[in-house]
């Protein structure tokens, strides 16, 4: 009896202990987000609610589309207070000027230029690839066009390119960059003098048999390309998207080397006014990598956001409202995007990025490049 009673007590004790253990484990699991501060990315819906995240996207039309198709849906899904601010050439200086442990924003968009300068100053944080499962669906092109070391930072979201935009009434089909030197567009074009490297990339593409940009990475080999630009007759050079739009609206110019994010706005707001296209020779382009900024206090939310950037729905929503290209290979292409690249080979054929290695070459002689381009402006303007 005693034995039975003892056994019974033991069983009861074991049972109580087991229940307590299970209860404690369950309780810990449920309370884990609160106890350790964060839940895993997959179960993040509640644990990040109310948290702030500042993301820099390109200023202008891109910023609006990014806010509407990425930021707002992200906040709606996770209850966060993410916001986006526009930026471009000031991004690196802003991070550099801020204290290392208190950056002005948490994530920033970069192209090869902004990425190179930021990496040189150690302003970005390496990506924990395990936290970004959506990276698996990205076209290899994005990693093939930058050094392996650099590819450890950030995630590719997509990219943009230059397109040839011509006023419909001029009667020029935008199928070749050579039209810029033609009689019909003489004195009617506007080109970028702010980010002049994309303008310089046009003769580089035209003169290279395989459309590569290598010749423009050295001031000596770039000289024939610069001389080619000096033959242009430009109505007015623009320094930013707003000025370019203004020049076209004011009829100061009738054709432009336009950028994909601006082009979509022209298409939407002035339907039928312009024709545009990616010329058959290929086009200057950039890949957009979103990078976590050093010192961010929202590292895990940043991971969640970067994974969200690569979600199929996010990519399709953004693509449906832009002329950019996106990183995923399995997206539904909208009707307005004729000739969207269908394969990794298409990416290589259509889009020529100024590589980060190329930027090392350009930056080594930057002032000489800049001076020569200013001479081009003096010779071609008016």
């Amino acid at each position: 009896m005693d034995i039975n009673n003892k056994t019974s007590r033991l069983n009861r004790r074991r049972f109580i202990r087991s229940v307590a253990a299970v209860g404690a484990t369950t309780g810990f699991a449920l309370a884990a987000p609160a106890i350790i501060g964060r839940a895993g990315v997959a179960s993040a819906k509640n644990s990040f609610a109310g948290e702030n995240l500042i993301v820099v996207s390109w200023s202008g039309n891109y910023e609006r589309v990014f806010r509407e198709t990425v930021i707002e849906p992200f906040n709606a899904e996770f209850g966060t207070k993410a916001e986006t601010i526009g930026g471009w050439d000031q991004i690196v200086s802003q991070i550099q000027a801020a204290p290392a442990d208190n950056p002005p924003f948490d994530i920033t968009v970069t192209d090869e230029y902004v990425a190179s300068a930021g990496l040189a100053g150690e302003l970005y944080v390496k990506t924990d690839r395990a936290a970004i499962p959506n990276l698996e669906a990205v076209y290899p092109w994005f990693h093939e066009t930058r050094p392996q070391d650099a590819a450890q930072y950030g995630i590719p979201f997509g990219g943009g390119s230059a397109v040839l935009l011509v006023r419909n009434s001029i009667g020029v089909t935008p199928d070749s960059w050579k039209h810029l030197w033609g009689e019909k567009l003489a004195g009617r074009i506007t080109l970028d003098s702010g980010a002049w490297w994309y303008t310089l990339a046009i003769p580089a593409i035209l003169k290279s048999p395989d459309g590569r940009l290598d010749a423009m990475y050295n001031i000596k080999t770039a000289e024939p390309l610069i001389a080619e630009l000096e033959r242009l007759k430009v109505a007015k050079w623009f320094t930013d998207g707003a000025e370019q739009a203004n020049l076209l609206v004011q009829e100061e110019a009738d054709a432009a080397m336009s950028y994909s994010s601006d082009t979509y706005t022209f298409l939407r707001e002035q339907p039928g006014e312009y024709v545009f296209g990616v010329p058959r020779e290929g086009t200057p382009a950039w890949a957009e990598w979103y990078m976590k900024v050093r010192g961010t206090k929202h590292g895990e939310l940043a991971d969640l956001f970067m994974n969200y950037l690569l979600a199929k729905e996010t990519q399709e929503r953004f693509l449906a409202n832009s002329m950019q290209f996106v990183a995923r290979s399995d997206v539904q292409v909208p009707d307005h995007w004729n000739g969207y690249p269908a394969s990794n080979e298409d990416y290589h054929r259509m889009f020529q990025v100024i590589t980060m290695q190329g930027w090392d070459g350009i930056m080594a002689d930057y002032q000489a490049f800049d001076d020569r381009m200013k001479q081009v402006i003096v010779k071609t303007t008016g």
Binding site: D89, Q90, V92, S93, Q96, S116, A117, L119, A120, G121, S193, G194, V234, K236, W237, T239, E243, N246, V249, Q250, E251, E252, W359, D360, M363, Y366, Q367, D370, D371, K374, I377, V378, T381, G382
Partner: protein, 305 residues
């Protein structure tokens, strides 16, 4: 103790007592200006010193700067025609702008001073308008005014004064108009404040003594308003020297001002030492103008005496 000794002793005691008082009196002005001095040193002096130090740093790769010491930036300012040309362009543009702002501002201020009270309200209201709008908004306004599809061309064409549309956009004239528009209100208010301190009966007295309007202006108004004109000129000049958005948005492609190049080097090119060297040139230029104006004002004061 003799009487003389007593007097000396009393004088010594008074002198001893007066010494702390004199010390205190000497300190009063410093104590009064101390808060402003501290603010000036902390918020203006230190940043300028920091900028000066930055201008000697190195820029060797894609980093915004590398700590070190070099005079390369200043040498570049001298030998590179883009940079040296930008300094001349900026000074020229600022001088013309300051001259225009003072001339137009003087005219308006004179109208307000002489005219009926209603004019005063109207002109002051007009002068306040540009101050209530941001520079970017003002630029957009000019973008709608100057081009061949803009208001100016349309109005002249509609009035039959021209046969074809024309554009003044992206010309030095447009940049100058934009800059003058920005600086004009300040010139107007500075000169008006000086005019308001002048007794209008001086004009009558001058007239009674047989002076014509031009003589009265030259002999009476000009000496009395000279300090205000100098202050207005200096203000407009300094403002125009530092403004980069308006000339780059309205001017031609080749109108590279110092402000534009500072922005370009600082943000676009990530070359902080070069941007700082250009900024130091601006600071030195502005300080020189201030000193020159002080000398001219002092000379004007002696003339007036």
């Amino acid at each position: 103790m003799s009487g003389a000794q007593q007097v000396t002793s009393a004088g010594h005691r008074d002198a001893m007592l007066a010494r702390p008082a004199m010390k205190f009196e000497r300190l009063v002005p410093w104590a009064l200006v101390a808060p402003a001095l501290v603010i000036a040193l902390v918020f203006f002096g230190l940043p300028i010193l920091n900028t000066l130090r930055m201008s000697f740093n190195l820029h060797v790769d894609q980093r915004v700067y590398v700590p070190g010491f070099t005079l390369d930036q200043y040498w570049m300012l001298v030998k590179n025609p883009i940079f040296s040309g930008s300094i001349l362009t900026t000074v020229k543009l600022s001088l013309i702008c300051a001259f225009s702002a003072v001339t137009i501002g003087y005219g308006f201020a004179l109208l307000v001073w002489i005219g009926p009270p209603l004019w005063r309200v109207g002109f002051i209201g007009l002068a306040l308008c540009p101050l209530l709008i941001s520079e970017i908004s003002i630029i957009f306004g000019w973008w709608m005014f100057f081009p061949k599809t803009g208001l100016l061309s349309h109005t002249l064409l509609s009035a039959g004064l021209i046969e074809d549309r024309f554009s003044l956009m992206y010309t030095e004239f447009a940049a100058l108009v934009g800059l003058t528009y920005l600086t004009l209100p300040f010139s107007f208010f500075i000169i008006l404040s000086i005019l308001d301190g002048i007794d209008k009966r001086l004009l009558e007295a001058s007239s009674d003594l047989g002076a014509g309007p031009l003589t009265t202006f030259r002999e009476v108004m000009l000496p009395l308003t000279w300090p205000g004109m100098l202050v207005a000129f200096a203000h407009a000049f300094i403002w125009a020297m530092g403004t980069y958005a308006t000339p780059s948005a309205l001017g031609p492609d080749t109108l590279w001002t110092i402000g534009f190049l500072v922005q370009e080097q600082m943000l676009g090119r990530h070359n902080w030492p070069m941007a700082s060297a250009l900024a130091i040139v601006l600071v030195v230029g502005v300080a020189s103008i201030m000193l020159l104006m002080r000398r001219l004002m002092a000379r004007g004061g002696r003339f007036h005496d």
